[in-house]
């Protein structure tokens, strides 16, 4: 249909601009479309890894697996029934029972530790002070007036009976070998040790 014919049958339509039908495109669209298509084609050519599964199963595995699982379940059910009967709701209450016992024990230990920490040092201090008061004529005796060497001498001479385990309980963070506390070494054993070992070496090492 020629333009003049179009104008005769459709004058409004013929006046509408053909140059710009209103549709637009992003900038540089036609410059990039070719690369997009090539990239898409190359992506499609890449091997699809998921189509090749390298893992295999034994022959007829999927045909037999259901029977194997059912058999195992039945075996577990039978085994479960042969167990010695337990009280009703035993497993419901066991956790609570254990936790309660742990808390009680913790309370006991905690209380014992607290008492030991408070009483032991007081007992030691009181012993020391009493002894000095009896020994010295001076009316005023305080711990400050006592030199630490004097206190040590008193302890080493056996004037004060301090239980090692009481001291250990004061310092729980220090770990000791329990064997050291319980072993009683005789004089003969000591002498035998001294004769056997090279004392010079021990002395120089230390």
């Amino acid at each position: 249909m020629k333009k003049e014919d179009l104008h005769k049958i459709a004058p409004i339509l013929s006046e509408i601009s053909l140059n710009n039908n209103g549709f637009e495109i992003p900038e540089n669209y036609f410059k990039t479309i070719e690369d997009s298509v090539i990239a898409k084609l190359k992506t499609e050519k890449l091997p699809k890894e998921r189509e090749h599964n390298p893992f295999k199963t034994p022959e007829n595995y999927f045909e037999t697996i259901e029977d194997i699982i059912i058999t195992k379940l039945k075996a577990e059910a039978i085994h479960g029934k042969s167990n010695t009967s337990i009280p009703e709701k035993y497993f419901d209450s066991i956790e609570e029972t254990v936790l309660t016992k742990i808390k009680d024990k913790t309370a006991l230990i905690s209380l014992r530790n607290k008492l030991t920490k408070i009483i032991a040092p007081l007992a030691i201090a009181a012993s020391l002070l009493l002894l000095f008061m009896l020994k010295n004529d001076s009316n005023k005796i305080t711990f400050d007036s006592l030199a630490s060497t004097e206190i040590e001498d008193w302890i080493n001479n056996g004037s004060i009976d301090i239980d090692a385990s009481s001291i250990i309980s004061l310092y729980p963070e220090i770990e000791l070998n329990n064997e050291m506390l319980s072993i009683n070494i005789s004089d003969d054993e000591i002498l035998e040790y001294l004769y056997k070992e090279d004392l010079d070496e021990i002395i120089y090492e230390n």
């Binding site: 409004i12 209103g22 549709f23």
Partner: protein, 180 residues
């Protein structure tokens, strides 16, 4: 004038295929884009369909029997891809293709890639009132100014039928524009 036979031979040869394909895209991308765009209306959809069209051409070049022009064959693929695309889009929304096209043209003014004036938008609304094939004929003749012989090869319809179809399309659109 493009030597279509040479281009087809190059496209079918794996040694020259990529270069020939880039050449093909360079030659037809704009024409194909606007043809597709008039069917799907939206730029992003047109971009998808255009890429799919070229990929299909590349993959099926060996089945091109050369009993029609390469351009007509590519145009036919583009037309089918665009119509299939818009049909799928309508199906996803559980509506028919006419309803979808009306929906799109009613909201053209909101499209970032549309800057047509009122009369141009009204023209798009008028076009979607036509049957699908008639829309194709109108767009290819009115906007693309293609020869009836070329349209005939693409749509596999006789020239006479195309002329009649176009005449009726023009009358309907004029009537729509007058009444709105």
């Amino acid at each position: 004038m493009i030597d279509e036979k040479l281009l087809v031979a190059q496209l079918k040869n794996s040694d020259t295929q990529e270069l020939a394909f880039r050449n093909l895209m360079s030659l037809y991308k704009e024409r194909l884009y606007w043809h597709i765009r008039k069917i799907v209306l939206n730029h992003d959809d047109a971009d998808d369909v255009l890429q799919n069209t070229f990929i299909k051409v590349f993959k099926n070049i060996h089945s091109f029997k050369e009993n029609s022009k390469l351009y007509s064959w590519i145009y036919r693929i583009a037309t089918n891809e665009a119509i299939t695309f818009i049909n799928k889009k309508a199906a996803k929304q559980h509506i028919d293709i006419n309803e979808l096209q009306h929906k799109i043209t009613d909201n053209l003014h909101e499209d970032l890639h549309y800057s047509g004036n009122e009369i141009q938008q009204l023209l798009q609304k008028a076009i979607v009132t036509l049957p699908q094939k008639q829309q194709l004929v109108f767009n290819m003749k009115y906007f693309d100014e293609m020869k009836y012989s070329d349209i005939s090869e693409i749509l596999e319809t006789s020239v006479g039928a195309l002329k009649a179809s176009y005449f009726h399309a023009v009358k309907k659109i004029e009537s729509f524009l007058k009444s709105h």
